[in-house]
Symmetry: C2
Subunit: 256 residues, 2 copies
Amino acid sequence: MITGVLLDISGVLHEGDKAVPGAAEAVQRLHAAGLPVRFLTNSTRRSKRRLIEELAAFGIGVAPDEVFTPVAAARAWLDENGHVPHLLIHPGLEEDFADCGTEGPVAVVVGDAADRFSYQNMNNAFRALQDGAPFLALAANRVFRDKDGLLSLDAGPFVHALEYASGTKPILFGKPEADFFRATVASMGCDPALAVMIGDDAESDVAGALAAGIGLGILVRTGKYRDGDEDRVDPRPSAVVADVGEAVDLILSERG
Amino acid sequence: MITGVLLDISGVLHEGDKAVPGAAEAVQRLHAAGLPVRFLTNSTRRSKRRLIEELAAFGIGVAPDEVFTPVAAARAWLDENGHVPHLLIHPGLEEDFADCGTEGPVAVVVGDAADRFSYQNMNNAFRALQDGAPFLALAANRVFRDKDGLLSLDAGPFVHALEYASGTKPILFGKPEADFFRATVASMGCDPALAVMIGDDAESDVAGALAAGIGLGILVRTGKYRDGDEDRVDPRPSAVVADVGEAVDLILSERG
């Protein structure tokens, strides 16, 4: 008996600037069935405000409390540890760090910075790590499905490069970190074993959620999904379905 | 009885645009003793022609046949396998690839591209690898001592990032590849066990040479050397000395 639903956003609800057909209806059907829903994303190219605007444009109305990004957890880490961020992030994410402190030791914060992953910016981040700065990675996904339909480099390869060069291990905040899934489930007041995660990334979304104790992990064949992804991860997905609409069919049919 | 000498260039003969004191005399003393010398470098920011000009400016006269860079081996691989290079290299290295073929499948070639390590260039290289292109890494050093005296990112972190994203293992051509050391020693007609390598990189120069069967590996405390480097590598250097002058003292004293 499922009592809460976690939804990845990019690749599940939309592919680039196109909604996945049936995505808005799928979310409405979950709401109509009285199931709490949380949206959790490792996308770090846009602020939370912009993310909610984009979902609204796809016909999906979402409250700020229903959206979980790695930024809040990273912000909490900075505040608790009294660090000022050295940001290597996308311009679209800057507003989420606008009111950070300006006094204190530096911590390097890396997101999917896209064109800001220049040699100079990478080298500056490396040098801050060499000087002993802690290393916060908002996410470490390898790739994402880009607007042109092809895969593009996500934050992960650059996080990996900085770790390799500096020897500093990153503190990770997004999926597949167990704490990220658990905090999201806790916000629904729901037993993790009775929650389900729906995602297009077999490793980070689905295997990550199952490893964190989420009861079910459903892999959709949209977004970055490639044939056979389910055979390359451990634990394997509970189910593999065509898209989020079919995932919701499965969840609602299990409720009887 | 040493019968051939391998010398790293950057950090051993010069630091940035300054010669290491006594470097030119050290090379002259080797020549005067009748010892063949080869210069081998993983630096991929300049062409072989420019490298020889820079050594000449430091008072070190070197013939083209005495200089070994990873480019020749990579060029040979491209020719043998009938591939055209997709280059992610420094503008200063382009002339060494100027006369490559233009017909055939693509192979991605990565050197220390410096400012050309932009997100777009990295993503284009990644996409070529996704399409099945072989991956040639001219070198994979983590860092180098930059002109401002601080460490900067070398090719290694970016090679690592592309491998992590694509899952394609790079074919390496520079130090510490055993083939690179062996080809250089072979050009002197010298038994590897009777050759010595002098370098400032405990891992890539010295441990790499010893692992490739070079008889002696001498670590100098110039260039990128940091206290205790000799304790962090296996096999350990045969000797650790102040600079290339002292290394040559040691070699000539062993000859009696």
